[in-house]
Amino acid sequence: MTTSQDRSSRGSSSGQSLVELTSRFFLGGLAFVPTLIVLALVGLMGYECFLFFNEVSFGDFLTATEWTPQFEENRNFGIQVLLVSTLIVSGIALLIAVPIGIVIGIYLAEYAPSRLRVVVKPVIESLTGIPTIVLGYFAYLTISPVLADRVLPQVRNLIGLFNQEFADSLSLAPFNGLCAGLVIGLISVPVVSSLVENGIRNIPDRLREGSAALGMTKFETLLHVLLPAALPAIVGAVILVTSRIFGETMIAAVAGGAETVLRFNPLESMSTMSAYILNASLATPSLDSIEFRSIFAVGAVLFLTTLVLNTAGNITEAIYRQQVIADQVAKVRVADNPYVALPDIRSLIVAGQQDGFRQSSAVRRSLDWVFQGISLISVFLVAAFLVWMLGDAFLKGYQQLSWAFLTSLPASARDSEQLGIAAPIVGSLWLMAVAFAFAVPVGVGAGMFLEEYLPRLRYGWARKVNAGIEILMANLAAVPSIVYGLLGVELFVRLLAGVTQGRTILSGGLTLAVVILPLLIIATRSALRDVPNSLRRAGYAVGMSSWQVIFFVTLPAAFPSIFSGIILALSTALGETSALVAIGAKAFVSFLPENVLQEFMALPVQIYFWATSPDPVTQKNGAATIVVLAGILLFLNVVALLLRSGRSKLSRL
């Protein structure tokens, strides 16, 4: 038996154990960074909120029914206004995401033939890879007019049959909560469906066999056995998606509008909390104004809401996973007494009396077909939305695409015919370079520490620490990126202004690093977890010490999946809009940045500014930029997918 003490004493040269100690402390330090981020987030946000509530009474914040920070006199900060809009938009989104997501998740787990599944799953999940700015733009420019011109008249006619007056009063504003909610709901479908699918797949096959042997159809098994068993997973999925929907920023800001008025009608413009933060940041208020502080007050509400929801969701999921494991072992081990006399059972036997059951197999089986029909319609809806959106952007934008468009600087902000995207492309490249220079070493190092060093302590307090870190990471990954944008403004733009020179590439890149750090840590950990333990043991067996096993055995084996995680983080960072808007990316820069201390533009931010422009040619440029960005992201996602499929070779070891 080789214990860990054996190992460290066997690495006899003191030089080696010094390396061991150094790597352990260095990686441990990196693993502490996420905790620092949480502390910074809470501290800075708390500080700004403290200043805010010095000027605005907490009672007014809760009870006022107006939100008018721009007024010189009679300023009101009634959070209700933003909260009601957020709830309405989120409610619409949940009505779409939850039923469709659950149906598709069940379908993928239980019904879909494997050939169909390998096509449907990536198509559905690719929705999460599309930058939300692109979706917001699509909601505002395409879906909203279709709803207003085609759908609304039909609805009016229908309602007119009952109540003409009410029907006439219906009208759809160009910016409206309905569109925002619809699109947020559709892109949240994959979040629900993949969680539900995993939850149902985790249920051991023995239960399916047991119910099939009792003559239950697939749908009956689902309804009576699988869904009750997977209920915690489904509840967890709904809570987690609610938090995602609450924090969704760009779609709400672009399609929902910016009017901060207390309204209950989703056909009108309404600003959610996250949309308010974005729009208020755009106005770049001075760093000590009450407007600026109000952004943080709203950010704190958003942060706390999502924090509570995420923690609840993650705990529910964790309890479920433990439950599934616990259910596989009998809890009570009472020895049976074999000498108990068996009762005479002759009188009890009723073998083979089949007329005791109603014969209605056909009816019972038809529910299977009904459910599959509903699933296929749901899948079709989501896929059609995806195709419509990509096709629409391509048709609108491809004429503008040219070499000159990609490589020229905008001659002037006014001349829309001669706009080029060289500045945002170079800006995005700089941002990626800065973000990855910071996030990759920290993320991979912290992931290695958390997965390879910490879990050695799987008992007592250390187990609780591990579980806490797990939930902390999941929480960090789910903090709305607009909240990280606020952290960036306060920390990098303001406090570290001496280093970053304010609203520069460095500030933007560091903020993106914070956004992708949790993704990288999670990807690294799951990649390392997939490395079979037999490989590690083989390393120890040839006399390697812990750090040698990690660096020479585990890390190389996990590298393809870590790399695929890095690429997915890259695509997230490239599409990230709201955090950069909060940091202060420019709408127009007439030079290519040459170092990290300059002002910058970025591709998604460029789309944001162009797509909302009233000028049709500028809008086309926006569409062309979408095609460019979507092309890059598609390429990155395919690369990541190929790398991940390479990983399956490893699992065969």
Binding site: E209, A213, A330, V332, V334, A335, L342, I345, F357, S360
Partner: protein, 269 residues
């Protein structure tokens, strides 16, 4: 070989076999798992299916109640008849009801003890009183006295042996003609296992039982007849065939084939 069976069964009359398998072969996506099995399974007896790992005995057992339907890519050829009816022409739900199945590891639903039995009855549209059938089924496996005061507590709180008896009761509640068991004691301790053996010895007077087992002593204790399956190696492709079957005494003490002799006396080639 048929004649041997008929001789033994003469003492229980000329009843038709419960199952008649004719030239059955089963393949998983083109790979033959078991080939050319012709076998009669007598009524109201316990037949044990024995043989080395990979000989296809569990595969055969699962196809007797059409549970292989659940797995994509399984092809069954030949004919399986249950009291002269081809089971593949029958409604699958009816087959599941007439042929019960108990699995290797106890698999109670994560529900109450009561609900574990009532669910199958309710879903299948049982016309009688469900409470009564729950009690009757639990009594048949001698579990009623142990659990009657806590019918509403979770079945997962039972011991492994109790869980397995609950699963047998669950199968009995649908009033099947045949009950198939796939190594029902392999996950249990020797005492719980002995108790199941006693139970099977009693049940076989009323039901047709087919039990797959790796435990030859168990086979000897509980079975009336034994079918021995063996693996064959055809240029690296391993598949199972039925080597020999007959009354338990004959297979164990006067096997017709050397391979059977070697297996039951634990000798390898």
């Amino acid at each position: 070989m048929n004649t041997q069976i008929n001789e033994v069964r003469s003492d229980i009359g000329e009843e038709a076999p419960a199952f008649r398998l004719e030239k059955m072969s089963i393949a998983y996506s083109g790979n033959v798992a078991v080939s050319g099995v012709t076998l009669n399974i007598p009524q109201k007896q316990l037949m044990a299916l024995i043989g080395p790992s990979g000989c296809g005995k569990s595969t055969i057992l699962r196809s007797l109640c059409r549970l292989n339907d659940l797995i994509p890519g399984v092809e069954v050829s030949g004919r399986i008849s249950l009291f002269h009816e081809d089971i593949r022409q029958m409604d699958a739900i009816a087959v599941h009801r007439r042929v019960g199945m108990v699995f290797q590891r106890p698999n109670p639903f994560p529900k109450s003890i009561y609900e574990n039995i009532a669910l199958g009855l309710r879903v299948n549209g049982y016309r009688g009183r469900i409470d009564e059938m729950v009690e009757r089924s639990l009594q048949q496996v001698a579990l009623w006295d142990e659990v009657k005061d806590r019918l509403r507590s979770s079945a997962l709180n039972l011991s492994g042996g109790q869980q397995q008896r609950l699963c047998i009761a669950r199968a009995l509640s649908l009033q099947p003609e045949v009950i198939l068991m796939d190594e029902p004691c392999s996950a249990l301790d020797p005492i719980a296992s002995l108790r199941i053996d006693n139970l099977l010895n009693q049940l076989k007077q009323y039901y047709t039982l087919v039990v797959v087992t790796h435990n030859l002593q168990q086979a000897a204790r509980i079975s009336d007849s034994v079918a021995f399956f063996n693996t064959n190696n055809d240029n690296g492709r391993i598949y199972g065939t039925l080597a020999e079957y007959g009354p338990v005494v004959q297979v164990f003490s006067e096997p017709q084939k050397k391979e059977t002799y070697d297996y039951v006396n634990a000798r390898s080639n």
